[in-house]
């Protein structure tokens, strides 16, 4: 910049700062500042920031054994950090080149199982050592000063003047008098807000159409099949066994509400049978089928204890008794596991006699109504 600029767009050098520009620059001329040593300048600036340096405990004397030792320590720490970082690079790049392959496999080399730990160890060490070095540096080599900074809760002057500006602006707008504008503004705000919210309506769907929560894929005559799709005969299971079965529809074994436990009871369990009301004939011989989906939070319950007849849910430890219509006997679940009515078709394979008589899975607000 030059002092006289006469090009178009400039004010020709007549532009001087206004009277309010000053601040500290008015208190101290450049000459005064130039004459002050650096420490004084530092303290001067600090004072303008409301900071007073009470006490400085200088670091170790230059050239003293203490300093030399501290410098060695810090230097060593940073060097080790650098080495460790390089080790990371070597491990990362070298794997599969001059080291064995990093790609882990079940029967892989020892190195592949060490690859990630080596990366972690080297990077962790490098970064930690950088941090340790910095802390050592600040603790052992930097001067320790105690400084005090003033704290203000808020300026009365600022409040009054800002308030005046705000209220003045509002007053000038005349909104308090011009009711039509405020009212229409309010109306407009409401309308706009609603309008902008509307696209979220795309998320809303009616959960009650077709009763998806109350129905599953099980229908009358549908075969009970295993995970691999094979049907099941009554002779296939031993007493005291449980098999997870699915409806014989495509993707039946991935459905979230269709999984069913087909349980063959032991004779002793049969003697204790106390089925739920109206569901005495839901089983077939010594077989019963219950929904695998917990009535509490929907986890698959299948921790079947064949001696105690209990089914435990691994998520919240609800326990159901298979001899009592899968009634909950412990834990937070409130409803019995729904029972699937089953029989055997002409070819001797298990089939369902219909869908579950009630909704499967966790309880919800209007469950009893649909």
């Amino acid at each position: 910049m030059t002092t006289h600029d006469t090009r178009p767009g400039s004010t020709g050098g007549a532009d001087t700062p206004g009277p309010l520009h000053g601040g500290p620059d008015d208190d101290y001329t450049p000459e005064q500042l130039a004459a002050m040593p650096r420490e004084d300048l530092d303290r001067l600036g600090a004072r303008y920031d409301g900071v007073q340096i009470l006490h400085v405990d200088p670091g170790p004397e230059p050239g003293s054994p203490m300093e030399r030792r501290a410098v060695r320590q810090v230097g060593l720490t940073f060097t080790l950090a650098g080495l460790s970082a390089l080790a990371f690079v070597v491990v990362y790049v070298g794997a599969g080149w001059f080291f064995p392959d990093w790609q882990w496999s079940v029967s892989g080399s020892d190195f592949s199982a060490l690859f990630t730990p080596l990366l972690g160890a080297t990077m962790g060490l490098a970064l930690t050592l950088v941090g340790v070095g910095l802390v050592l540096f600040s603790k052992k080599l930097l001067p320790h000063e105690t400084a005090v900074q003033d704290k203000h809760d808020g300026s009365h002057f600022d409040r009054v003047t800002t308030g005046a500006t705000l209220v003045g602006g509002l007053h000038n707008s005349g909104l308090a008098r011009r009711k039509l504008i405020t009212r229409s503004l309010g109306f407009m705000g409401g309308g706009l807000g609603l309008m902008l919210l509307m696209p979220l309506g795309g998320l809303i769907k009616n959960p009650n159409t077709g009763d998806p929560l109350g129905r599953t894929s099980w229908t009358e005559g549908m075969r009970l099949v295993r995970n691999d799709g094979s049907p099941i005969r009554p002779g296939d299971q031993e007493p005291g066994s449980l098999e997870t079965v699915f409806p014989a529809v495509p993707g039946g074994n991935r459905q979230s509400d269709a999984a069913t436990m087909l349980i063959r009871l032991r004779p002793a369990q049969l003697e204790q049978m106390a089925p739920r009301e109206g569901q005495a004939d839901f089983g077939y011989g010594d077989y019963v089928a219950y929904s695998k989906i917990c009535t509490h939070a929907g986890c698959p319950v299948s921790l079947y204890e064949q001696e105690t007849s209990r089914i435990l849910c691994p998520c919240h430890q609800s326990q159901f008794d298979v001899t009592q219509g899968a009634k909950p006997v412990f834990g937070p679940a409130t409803r019995s596991l729904p029972q699937l009515p089953i029989t055997v078709d002409d070819e001797g394979y298990f089939v369902a006699r219909g869908d579950y008589p009630e909704a499967v899975g966790p309880t919800y607000w209007n469950r009893e109504r649909i």
């Binding site: 882990w104 079940v106 730990p117 802390v135 002779g235 296939d236 031993e238 698959p300 921790l303």
Partner: protein, 283 residues
């Protein structure tokens, strides 16, 4: 976890290069198999034993036959009457409220219960804990012979017990086993003090016989429910992941979030708290 399991290690070797240990076991098994080969219930499993069976059995089976059959049973009966009879009763009939009848449980059940040390029981508890086996392998063979001869039942499998597809085994494991034994066979709690044991130190044959016989509260997985191949797949899976190294460092028990939470609080927050104490201390 990188602990090695001598038994399962030995059994993991391929069918083609069957180790001496595996061969010895197969020989022992085939001996019993000869003896009960005429039992009709055995036919199904015989069909399923596969090619290995034919490799091992014909050579050694014939001479052993007949000679010590009844001797083994008699020795088994003697052992039974010494150690088991108080709970399981005379002639394997069981004693109410003490021990179940052993008629028809088969040698597989005997093998599992006695080989894992669950039987003989020290005292009645929520479930029988595994402990070092009380009987020697020979004595177990004799007990198995005795129980098998009196009522039959599931028999020991033969061949490579890991001869199955590991991925399919994984699917079956997660569907049938993980609910009690956890993703990786770590085991888990059941109701009222019972627990599904960890499979980490179990041998292939123990896992197989457990599935076959459904000891205690475990459901039975008969051969028509999980075929012998499927059982082998499951064993292959659970032993594979049990033995495989953890690629991401220490496995912290492989129990998931609870252990990880402990680590972050004890190690993570612990180390950092120490760090900031050190930073805040005066030099």
């Amino acid at each position: 976890m990188s602990t090695t399991h001598p038994q399962s290690d030995a059994a993991s070797s391929d069918a083609a290069t069957a180790s001496p240990v595996a061969r010895a076991r197969a020989r022992r098994r085939s001996k019993h198999r000869r003896r009960v080969a005429n039992v009709a219930g055995l036919m199904a499993s015989l069909v399923l034993t596969g090619a290995l069976y034919s490799v091992f059995s014909p050579a050694q089976a014939a001479p052993a036959e007949g000679a010590n059959e009844s001797a083994a049973e008699a020795a088994g009966r003697e052992l039974y009457e010494r150690s088991c009879i108080s709970c399981h009763g005379e002639n394997l009939e069981g004693v109410p409220n003490r021990g179940p009848s052993l008629i028809g449980v088969g040698e597989a059940a005997v093998y599992f219960q006695v080989h894992t040390g669950r039987m003989p029981l020290v005292r009645q508890e929520a479930d029988a804990p595994d402990k070092p086996a009380v009987f020697s392998d020979e004595e177990i063979d004799q007990l198995m012979a005795y129980v098998q001869a009196n009522g039959g039942g599931p028999t020991l499998p033969s061949g490579d017990l890991r001869d199955g597809d590991v991925a399919e085994g994984g699917e079956l494991f997660r569907l049938n086993c993980a609910s009690c034994h956890n993703f990786v066979g770590e085991g888990g709690a059941l109701s009222s003090g019972k627990a599904a044991p960890s499979l980490n130190d179990s041998s292939d044959l123990e896992i197989y016989t457990a599935m076959l016989t459904g000891p205690e509260n475990m459901p039975v997985f008969g051969d028509n429910q999980l075929t012998s191949e499927e059982k082998r797949s499951i064993i292959n899976y659970v032993q594979t992941i049990g033995e495989q190294a953890d690629p991401g460092g220490a496995g912290v028990g492989r129990v998931g979030p609870v252990a990880e939470g402990l680590v972050i609080w004890v190690v993570g927050i612990g180390v950092l708290m120490f760090g900031i104490f050190w930073m805040g201390s005066k030099a």
